[in-house]
């Protein structure tokens, strides 16, 4: 099995993000299963960026700790990452700029000097293209055909014109040829072409997955104020807005954003917002407004470490309790948490149906690790999810029906609590939606009896909730000696860890909770009620999910593994913890 993790490190501002994705694309086109993860500080210039790209000939689910090829654009990269190098790892670096001593590294480490700056000078291109030379050099180390990268460059840069394409190809090719000539074969892990020819994979980012799900689901309005880690969602929607007829606006702040989205939804659009914890804090009062006026709304909340500005470009799962409880008093909401790219796409699509059918806010809670990472997904799988998805808009009254009604009531007390909704512009459907407690007409009303009826009506809607996917998913054998429990992006390193453990004949299973509100009590009890040992994994300090499970099921977990350092979980760490526990 081929399993290579490549890492490029350097100062922020040197296009490391772009080049990281390009490496992922190379691996993808070579037929590998790919996962990438980037670490960077909240700076535009300076500071250390590190982009990890892992490619393997078997399906992988996450990054790993050990680095097989290190591309060092500066000395700092070597200092920071030399501990991560695997046996026989290669280091690509410019020996004219960086001094290294082979004695610094474990025996067997391969040094691959490439004169990046010299090549740049020789072919007379901008210094910023060093990373393009580096990606070419990287390919030159593991594969003997430049074609794959040439094709990628054409696809990626063709919009910028022929000149840009040629310049990039030249730079990459120079790096490629230099390594082919001087070092090919030194690094032992060569990738033959199309090892995994069996399936066509796309390489997709988490933010793109959410946005594409929304587009497939018919979203036609968004008002998103930029914030890491949901900028990918915002930028994808904006990029596609003209083609797909999406009004995608940048509001003055998140309060405006969510209110615009509520207004658009009230007027009949399918609308969404996306933000992180800080922006969501501003939105809170309006989440209740959507619930109280029974206006459908999808909110994407991308978690990152807080409080306040916290660590803007890092990851965590510390907003779970926040999204579950945000807003004054009780109101129904649906909170769902995808664990990988395909789930992000699928849950995003379904979130809009749920919001429309139940006329309430749906929160898709994600995190930086999922939003800014990329992974391969089988083309057929995502495409068939898209094709089989049916848009459901719930009880919007038809123009004909509403025209006939003589006394339309927007908040009529119907059995399932879901009142038929009129849309402004419909004759006969005139109504007011208000944030005050109201009667069936929508008129403010503070009578105790009306209050109770309306409160119950709103909650009643959850009884007809159909998620469109399972509220929990179980992985692994039912009779395993340990059950891992988690939500959201921890799915990826957990599945990876399980894969590795299977090779050691250690069997554990995994319960992933997809729906956090309403909490799937029965499903959770039946999945873990009888488990001997349980290990709950979550990215926060206080065990927010652990407490939630205890609250709803009375079950206590026997062990936990919590991280709140801004870094994702690594399969190695999960395995170590499992072994401790077993």
């Amino acid at each position: 099995m081929t399993d290579i993790q490549w890492l490029i490190g350097g100062e922020a501002g040197y296009g490391i993000m772009t080049i990281g994705v390009m490496m992922s694309k190379i691996f993808t086109r070579l037929g590998l299963s790919v996962f990438d993860y980037v670490e960077y500080p909240s700076l535009i210039r300076g500071g250390h960026n590190a982009y990890y790209v892992r490619g393997a000939s078997e399906q992988i689910f996450s990054q790993k700790k050990s680095v097989d090829i290190l591309v060092a654009l500066n000395r700092e990269t070597i200092d920071k990452h030399k501990q991560e190098l695997s046996d026989g790892a290669a280091i690509i670096y410019d020996d004219q700029l960086i001094k290294v001593d082979p004695a610094e590294f474990a025996l067997g480490t391969v040094l691959i000097p490439v004169p990046f700056a010299g090549i740049i000078k020789q072919i007379n291109v901008d210094r910023l293209m060093i990373n393009t030379v580096a990606v070419g050099a990287s390919l030159g180390l593991i594969h003997d055909d430049f074609n794959v990268l040439e094709k990628i460059m054409q696809d990626v840069f063709s919009k910028k014109g022929e000149e840009v394409v040629i310049e990039n190809i030249n730079a990459a090719k120079s790096g490629f040829e230099y390594v082919q000539k001087n070092s090919f074969g030194k690094f032992k892990r060569i990738i033959e072409k199309n090892i995994l020819q069996t399936q066509k994979n796309i390489l997709i980012g988490g933010g793109e997955s959410v946005a594409l799900g929304a587009i497939q689901s018919g979203v036609n309005f968004s008002a998103i104020y930029p914030m890491t880690p949901v900028n990918g969602v915002m930028m994808t929607l904006i990029a596609q807005s003209l083609k797909y007829g999406i009004v995608a606006k940048e509001p003055e702040d998140e309060i405006a954003g969510i209110n615009m989205a509520i207004g658009a939804s009230f007027a009949g659009a399918r609308s969404m917002v996306a933000t992180s914890g800080g922006g969501f804090s501003l939105m809170v009062e309006s989440v209740g407004l959507a619930a109280q006026t029974e206006t459908p709304l999808v909110i994407v909340e991308g978690m990152r470490p807080g409080p306040a500005t916290g660590m803007p470009t890092w990851t965590g799962q510390g907003d779970l309790r926040f999204v579950l409880h945000a807003g004054q008093d009780d109101f129904p909401r649906v909170v769902i948490a995808p664990g990988d790219m395909l789930e992000a796409f699928n849950m995003s699509m379904n979130a809009f149906n749920i919001a429309d059918i139940c006329q309430l806010p749906v929160i898709l809670v994600v995190d930086k690790y999922l939003m800014e990472g990329h992974a391969t997904v089988p083309f057929d799988k995502i495409s068939s999810l898209a094709k089989n998805f049916v848009i459901k808009r719930g009880k919007i009254i038809s123009d004909e029906d509403v025209a006939l009604s003589t006394d339309y009531k927007r908040y009529s007390l119907v059995d399932d609590g879901i009142s038929p909704r009129s849309i402004p512009g419909q004759k006969g459907g005139i109504a007011l939606s208000g944030s005050d407690e109201h009667d069936e007409r929508g008129l403010y009303n503070e009578e105790a009896e009306v209050r109770i009826k309306m409160m119950n009506k709103r909650f009643k809607k959850l009884e007809s909730l159909e998620l469109g996917f399972s509220p929990v998913d179980s992985y692994g054998l039912a009779d395993a000696s340990l059950t891992i429990v988690g939500f959201g992006s921890t799915k990826m390193p957990t599945l990876e860890a399980m894969n590795w453990l299977a090779k050691e004949n250690i069997s554990v299973n995994f319960l992933k909770i997809n729906c956090l509100a309403p909490f799937p009590v029965d499903a959770v009890i039946s999945a873990i009620g009888k488990s001997g040992k349980t290990l709950i994994i979550e990215g926060n300090k206080t065990g927010q999910l652990e407490g939630l499970i205890r609250e709803y099921t009375g079950l206590t977990m026997s062990h936990n593994f919590r991280k709140y350092d801004g870094r994702p979980f690594y399969p190695e760490e999960i395995i170590a913890r499992i072994k401790e526990v077993l």
Partner: protein
């Protein structure tokens, strides 16, 4: 044919204090809708929270009563989703110049095609009389035990500076003029603000109807040219004063249209809705295959 009775609701009536200036704005707004022969089901009144913001409950059009300070972005969302609707925002001075002032700034510069009517009573009515962003300098009340030194917001200058393309002041004691201003505001293609002096008879014992009658004048009576922005600024700066009054000094309060210009609207700059309102366009039926193929 829209008549006044079509705008009346039968199951409730306004509960403002008798004599409140809100009644005048309510009557004028209904008159304007009738005079312009708008279909009630194609009008949406969007309000925040406050005495004034209750108004949409008592007009039989579509309505959305949102949060304190936030009706503007709700209204913007409605307009972008359905640019075929007439959208009117109703708010108090607290709602629009305090909690929602930032939204007002941005709506004005975007020139979204809607009309804002501010019931400016220079006080927080619903929360029983605390001072507001437009309370006169030097005033003292139960929330300000010492005379306030906070200079009042000048809604006219603020809107002009923000780029509003229709800036007017009305008075709840002159329904005829107010009706006319609301009609002009609705007809204006772009963002219109009608800051309406609306005496709160219960909590504001200074800025009463008679106080205003002694001070208001109509800019058109002076032959004001509404396309003259520099002049509009000068008039706007006449009142409210950024200083305490001198002995015997009386304010001059301009009413009428101070400024008007044509400029592309936010909707004009949104090609997705140039041929048809968003919600009238065919929904769903999307094929994302090309987007997926780009990711291969």
């Amino acid at each position: 044919m829209t008549e006044l009775k079509d705008l009346e609701i039968t199951y409730d009536k306004p509960n403002w204090c008798p004599g409140c200036g809100d009644f005048g704005v309510w009557v004028s707004l209904k008159n304007a809708i009738v005079s312009l022969q708008l279909n009630p089901w194609e009008v949406v009144l969007v309000s925040g929270i406050g005495c004034s913001s209750k108004l949409p409950y008592w007009v039989k059009t579509y309505g959305f009563n949102g949060l304190h300070g936030r009706p503007m972005p709700i209204a913007e969302g409605i307009r972008l989703a359905n640019s075929g609707l007439t959208v009117i925002v109703i708010g108090g001075d607290g709602d629009q110049y305090g909690e929602g002032a930032n939204h007002l700034l941005h709506a004005a510069r975007r020139n979204i095609n809607l009309t804002l009517i501010v019931h400016n009573n220079q006080i927080y009515g619903l929360t029983t009389g605390q001072f507001s962003p437009t309370t006169d300098i030097g005033e003292k009340n139960k929330a300000t035990p010492v005379p306030t030194v906070e200079a009042p917001v000048n809604p006219m200058s603020y809107s002009l500076a923000a780029g509003a393309t229709f800036v007017a002041r009305g008075f709840a004691g002159d329904n005829k003029q107010e009706t006319q201003l609301v009609m002009e505001g609705i007809k204006h293609k772009g963002f219109s603000i009608i800051d309406t002096m609306q005496p709160c008879v219960t909590f504001n014992h200074k800025n009463t109807f008679s106080w205003f009658y002694e001070r208001v004048y109509k800019v058109e009576d002076n032959g004001h040219d509404t396309s003259d922005k520099a002049q509009a600024y000068l008039i706007a700066e006449e009142w409210p004063l950024k200083r305490a009054l001198m002995d015997g000094e009386k304010e001059k309060i301009a009413t009428g249209i101070l400024y008007k210009e044509e400029r592309p609207t936010w909707e004009d700059g949104t090609p997705q809705i140039s041929s048809m309102p968003l919600v009238k366009q065919s929904f769903g039926n999307r094929d994302i295959t090309p987007l997926l193929e780009e990711l291969l």
